[in-house]
């Protein structure tokens, strides 16, 4: 265990995403209060906290869904302002959703293929005629997607309609679609929510494998603390929109403020 974490630690690179003093308010409610933390390349970075701590708000700020009133976000050394989710996606940040936002009426394959959308450049007319570069492009992307399907062990469900699959598998398809974008950073919104123990273990394995295999930097939100501690390199702890802890799983576990927050000590 110690040896493994050492080799993993060796892979971790420079800071690629830095959140600096971000505050976000909805009317009078402060969802985030001067939050700062950073994410290093190739690491698995977790954001944890009890319900209502501001985790999802934080993710939505990084993803461009919300724009913070104060503070900045630096990605690859550049500050980004008022980027919408589409621009964020273009810049190489992918995400999955807590309440699954898959294209339910489409097949597993089509869902994952749609993750390649940004990488497809052929002309709409060529696509319509299915000739030349458009067809070649479709085949190339299909190969990448088949690789991801193998990787996540969902070969048997390729043609199934996503809406018909059990929840745990849908979560996996969501992850597959995000990986198909070949993102530099992958934001996972409660990837283990609603899963049974076995599904959780599978998901942990896939997240770590994706991190190892593709080198994808992972930022994940969870409120199940035990799961997070096993797979994360570093953990940020939020409570009522404030950062109350930041460090390795061991450091966070020993942090009194974190223990209080999770045990529900009155403030």
């Amino acid at each position: 265990m110690a040896g493994e974490s050492n080799t993993r630690a060796g892979r971790i690179g420079d800071v690629i995403l830095a959140v600096e003093g971000v505050s976000l308010a909805f009317g009078g409610v402060k969802a985030l209060n001067a939050i700062s933390f950073d994410v290093r390349e190739h690491e698995v970075r977790a954001i944890i906290g009890p319900n209502g701590a501001g985790k999802s708000s934080m993710l939505n700020v990084i993803n461009g869904v919300y724009h913070p009133q104060e503070g900045t976000i630096r990605y690859l050394g550049r500050e980004y302002h008022d980027m919408d989710p589409h621009q964020v996606a273009v810049s190489g940040i992918a995400r999955t959703f807590q309440n699954l936002a898959l294209f339910k009426g489409m097949s597993v394959l089509d869902n994952i293929m749609s993750g390649r959308n940004l990488k497809m450049h052929s002309n709409i007319l060529l696509q319509a005629l299915r000739i030349g570069p458009a067809l070649r492009e479709e085949i190339e992307h299909r190969e990448v997607v088949e690789g991801i399907i193998d990787f996540l062990e969902i070969q048997a469900y390729r043609k199934s309609q996503v809406g018909q699959l059990p929840y745990g598998l849908q979560k996996r398809v969501d992850l597959a679609r995000a990986l198909a974008m070949e993102p530099r950073i992958l934001l996972l919104d409660e990837p283990m929510a609603g899963m049974n123990l076995e599904e959780k273990q599978d998901m942990c394995r896939f997240i770590l494998d994706a991190n190892d295999h593709f080198g994808t930097t992972i930022v994940l939100i969870e409120h199940d603390m035990s799961v997070v501690m096993d797979i994360s390199d570093r953990v940020v702890v939020l409570d009522y929109g404030r950062k109350i802890g930041d460090g390795t799983p061991d450091e966070v576990r020993a942090n009194q403020a974190v223990i209080d927050a999770y045990l529900g000590v009155t403030h």
């Binding site: 919408d84 996606a89 959703f97 936002a101 898959l102 293929m113 749609s114 940004l118 974008m181």
Partner: protein, 333 residues
């Protein structure tokens, strides 16, 4: 499953209505087939316009009231331009105009109103409707104009060996229906088989998720409005050739509305079947039911063709609000 009986009942009534003229001998076989064909041929056009409608609704949640006016606008453009140039060139230019129009609507109307209530967007398209109706006349005049496709309009007798008296069809209607059907098939393939089609379906399914994987909503809207514009142009040219290019075209095209109610707002298959059902239904009602009603109640005349579609749509709203192929919305309380 329990509440399905009204749908079954309505279906049964329609089916009985469909076969009754034949069974009772009210119509000779040849004439019956002629009416049926006529209904199918106008139905394909309804399907075409309805697809434009369904596409926009799927991709942006906008109930595009302006679809009928787009048909009129496109038909006017082609008819007037064709006076000065060959028809094919007028059609190409007309397509360019409709795509430009889609771009302008996306920029000036949809983008500023993104995330607004559906009602606001509906009102906006209502505004576009009146603008297009008026602006089209400002540019191209308000008389009745002709589009000549150069295909024979005279009815031809076919199959006179099979049916007594044969079937009268006119070649132009037949070619038009064929072209419309081809276009419908092409659109379906485009949406099922290409990357852009996949992106469109993705947007239709879930906006937020589509954006997060980098599908640009604005581009997709631009594409669906362009396709709807092109479809309007084809329908406008065909109807314009059959009925003359005049203001009432936008009313004819608005029949797409009952079609999508019948078929389900979000369904391409629904638009196709809805169009055919309404096309056949209203022709049958006009020809066979009309005289019966006139006789029984001593009425002045028929006119069923004008309201049959709307009454049928209303009945469908009562028994199956999501339409034949629509998704049923189950809201949590």
């Amino acid at each position: 499953m329990k509440k399905n009986w009204p749908v079954l009942l309505l279906g049964a009534v329609l089916l009985i209505g469909l076969v009754l003229p034949l069974v009772t001998g009210a119509a000779p076989g040849g004439f019956y087939v002629e009416v049926l064909l006529g209904g199918l041929m106008s139905g394909v056009l309804y399907s075409l316009v309805a697809i434009g409608f369904a596409l926009i609704f799927k991709a942006s949640g906008v109930f595009n009231f302006a679809q009928g006016s787009m048909v009129l606008f496109a038909a006017l453009a082609v008819a007037r331009m064709a006076e000065a140039m060959p028809l094919w060139l007028a059609i190409v230019l007309g397509t360019v105009i409709m795509i430009a129009l889609a771009w302008v609507i996306e920029r000036l109307v949809l983008r500023p109103l993104v995330n607004q209530e559906g009602v606001a967007l509906l009102m906006a398209t209502l505004g576009v409707t009146y603008f297009l109706d008026g602006f089209g006349q400002t540019l191209w005049g308000s008389d009745i104009y002709k589009i000549d496709l150069g295909i024979a309009k005279e009815p031809v007798m076919v199959l006179d060996k099979v049916f007594k008296g044969g079937i009268l069809v006119n070649k132009e209607d037949f070619v038009a229906a064929f072209v419309a059907a081809l276009l419908v098939a092409g659109l379906v393939l485009f949406f099922q088989k290409t990357a852009t089609g996949r992106a469109l379906r993705a947007v239709a399914d879930d906006h937020q998720a589509a954006q997060s994987i980098g599908i640009p909503l604005n581009r997709i809207w631009m594409i669906v409005w362009s396709v709807a514009g092109f479809v309007a142009l084809v329908a406008g040219v065909i109807w314009g050739s059959q009925l003359g290019v005049q203001f009432s075209l936008s009313q004819v095209a608005l029949k797409a509305l009952p079609v999508v109610i019948l078929g389900g707002f979000t369904s391409i298959a629904g638009a196709i079947f809805g169009g055919l059902i309404i096309g056949v239904g209203e022709k049958m009602a006009e020809v066979f039911l009309g005289p019966v009603l006139v006789k029984a109640f001593d009425l002045a005349g028929g006119g069923l063709e004008n309201w049959f579609a709307y009454v049928l749509a209303l009945l469908f709203l009562l028994v199956r609000p999501e339409g034949l192929f629509g998704e049923r919305n189950i809201d949590r309380v």
